[in-house]
């Protein structure tokens, strides 16, 4: 238990640090939203000045940070200048959209990577393994951007899938089943892009860890006891290879919000990615900070989850932790 409290405390400190840095960087970048407004002759100087005072942009930096921190503690993430509404609701909607994509892609990628990696490791060095290794290597080399664009071109040419967006026009007026179908058809391309982007690395890691476990003396002993093949591969080898894979899984969870930015932008998926890009360009301070903070929470949470899973899965870590 003490082990967790220490890890959690560490995580909290990390979040503080990140929020401070993000705040500093965004606040210190030249220009702000109101400079743009000032150039607009239709808005009077007085209005601009009033707005600036309202948003407390003329207070010193530390004060602004503390105000913001206080607000966050109460659940308010600030105010978006561009959307003219609180940041919270905007962010949640976008985050939900992103998670829809990334969770689906993560589950698919892992469900495919495990059997592929195990199968490849069990035939190490032989033809099927070499073919798979070649394929994953090629996919790794292709930039995600190219993959996404390629799929988009496919959609345009074949008209099999919609070329962007979350849902089609007229979404509200159709039956629930059709709604689901529509959503699914929009999801196919971005999910495929994400899976193609993450699957190769996962497969290679699973393959490497399982191949190493297959060389271990206890595995040879299990063969000597007549344990059947499937159990050897999954119950013994994969289980022994779990540690690095669990850490990788934590990393997968950690990038649930931040890993799909490129694909979302290319495929016009209304997720956190495009929101962040716009906000940065528009100097929309609180949206940027809010988005980064949320991503960081996921990253840190993912690591914490990995720690927890490792603790549960590996008794040796439990023994070492309780001895401290």
């Amino acid at each position: 238990m003490r082990y967790f409290l220490r890890r959690a405390l560490h995580a909290v400190f990390l979040l503080f640090g990140v929020s401070l840095l993000t705040f500093l960087f965004s606040a210190l970048t030249p220009g702000n939203y109101f400079d743009e407004m000032r150039l607009n002759p239709q808005i009077s100087k007085a209005t601009v000045a009033a707005l600036r005072a309202q948003y407390q942009l003329d207070r010193p930096l530390p004060v602004r940070y503390l105000h913001w921190l206080n607000a966050v503690a109460h659940g308010e993430l600030g105010f978006s200048f561009a959307y003219n509404s609180p940041v919270g609701p905007i962010l949640w909607v976008r985050a939900r959209n992103t998670l829809l994509l990334t969770i689906t892609a993560m589950l698919l990628a892992w469900l495919l990577a495990l059997p592929l990696g195990v199968w490849s490791a069990s035939r190490l060095g032989r033809a099927p393994d070499r073919i798979l290794s070649g394929t994953t290597a090629t996919l790794l080399v292709i930039p995600e951007l190219v993959l996404a664009l390629g799929l988009l071109i496919l959609a345009v040419r074949t008209h099999w899938f919609p070329t962007g967006g979350l849902v089609s026009v007229g979404f509200e007026s159709v039956s629930p089943l059709q709604k689901l179908q529509d959503l699914a058809s929009h999801m196919v391309l971005p999910v495929t892009a994400l899976v193609l982007g993450t699957l190769p690395m996962l497969v290679r890691h699973v393959r490497a860890s399982v191949a190493e476990a297959l060389q271990a003396p206890f595995l040879r002993a299990a063969v000597g006891h007549g344990i059947p093949r499937r159990k050897l591969l999954y119950g013994y080898a994969l289980r022994a290879a779990a540690n690095p894979l669990i850490s990788l899984f934590g990393f997968s969870v950690g990038t649930l919000l931040s890993g799909s930015l490129l694909v979302e932008v290319v495929m016009s998926w209304p997720g956190v990615g495009p929101l962040l890009v716009e906000a940065i360009l528009a100097r929309d301070l609180f949206v940027v900070i809010g988005g980064v903070l949320l991503s960081m929470i996921f990253l840190v949470g993912g690591n914490l989850l990995a720690d927890a899973l490792l603790y549960w899965a590996d008794p040796r870590i439990r023994t070492a932790a309780s001895a401290k």
């Binding site: 206890f218 040879r220 006891h225 007549g226 013994y236 040796r316 023994t319």
Partner: protein, 327 residues
């Protein structure tokens, strides 16, 4: 009476990085009756672990059985199909590998590891599986079987891990047990306990046991017969008492002389030099003609350089491969 296990002319080699084969075992033959305990004595490089692995075809990927037969209960294991082989491993022949610390899965409870072996050979319901496992563990751990069953390997001592390996090997009631250096990393008192355990298993279950060791003295009271391995060849095989009291092969005699003498009887021989075998263990990757022990042999003859001796009977189930004993 047909022997339980009959090994004839076994030749095993390992391929090195260049693909060349380097012999590890050459012409190994012996047999084992039901309920008999055979000790295989050999030093590093003698091929004893290779022999244990080869019997069940568990050699690493660069190992190859080039020739020979291994007849177990009348059937040749070297010809067996993969399904038959899997059935025999753990089912009819129990195997105990070296190094109990690394022969157990690190993140599985040991009770589970024992049940898995049983489950692999008999289709039983979960409850029966659990009961049988607990019964078995109770015989090997009379004091705290329940606690041991849910422990992980790193929570157990060396002796306890060894017992778990033994449990795994006997859970399906095999007729033959092969144990590779079962007491190597253990304390003397624990060693004796484990050896006593083997004797009990032989008596209660009628098990035949092959025990591999590098210490001839260890099995002096336990083994019925002793097989001395040198450079992948059988130097001598015979009843333990005879081989230890009056060894025929020069290597056997020299090895026994290396052991510090029975100190209860020694007077004034302490701190005296031990008689050593001059030279080093042979490098099997180099091709050589003639007897492999010849360079270090105190009684070598001319013909030992060019020809390899064959096994010759010198007593009741006692054979020696040395030109000093012409056929």
């Amino acid at each position: 009476m047909t022997p339980l296990l009959e090994v004839q002319g076994l030749h095993v080699a390992y391929a090195d990085r260049m693909g060349e084969f380097c012999p590890a075992l050459a012409g190994v033959s012996f047999d084992l009756g039901s309920g008999e305990i055979l000790a295989i004595v050999g030093e590093s490089g003698s091929g004893k672990s290779t022999l244990a692995a080869a019997l069940l075809r568990l050699l690493p990927s660069n190992g190859k059985i080039q020739q020979g037969t291994v007849l177990f209960e009348g059937k040749n294991l070297l010809d067996a199909s993969p399904q038959d082989l899997r059935r025999i491993r753990g089912g009819r022949i129990g195997l105990i590998f070296q190094e109990p610390s690394s022969s157990l899965h690190p993140t599985m409870r040991v009770g589970q590891q024992v049940s898995d072996v049983l489950a692999a050979h008999e289709s039983l319901g979960r409850r029966t599986l659990s009961e049988r496992t607990n019964q078995l563990l109770a015989t090997l751990f009379p004091a705290d079987a329940a606690r041991i069953s849910v422990s992980y390997p790193h929570e157990l001592s060396g002796g306890q891990r060894q017992r778990v390996l033994i449990a795994q090997a006997i859970t399906c009631g095999p007729s033959l047990l092969i144990a590779d250096e079962p007491t190597a990393s253990l304390d003397p008192t624990t060693q004796q306990e484990i050896l006593q355990l083997f004797e009990t298993l032989r008596q209660n279950l009628g098990l035949a046991i092959i025990l591999i060791t590098h210490n001839p003295a260890l099995l002096a009271s336990l083994a019925d017969r002793l097989l001395v391995l040198y450079a992948g060849r059988v130097a001598e095989i015979g009843p333990t008492a005879q081989v230890l009291a009056a060894p025929k092969h020069p290597y056997t005699a020299a090895l026994l002389r290396c052991l510090p003498s029975d100190f209860a009887k020694s007077q004034g021989t302490r701190k005296a030099k031990l008689q050593v075998i001059p030279g080093d263990a042979p490098d099997l990757s180099l091709h050589a003609q003639g007897c492999r022990f010849e360079p270090r042999c105190a009684v070598r003859m001319e013909m030992c350089k060019s020809d390899e001796p064959e096994a010759v009977a010198v007593g009741e189930r006692h054979e020696v491969s040395c030109f000093k004993f012409p056929g």
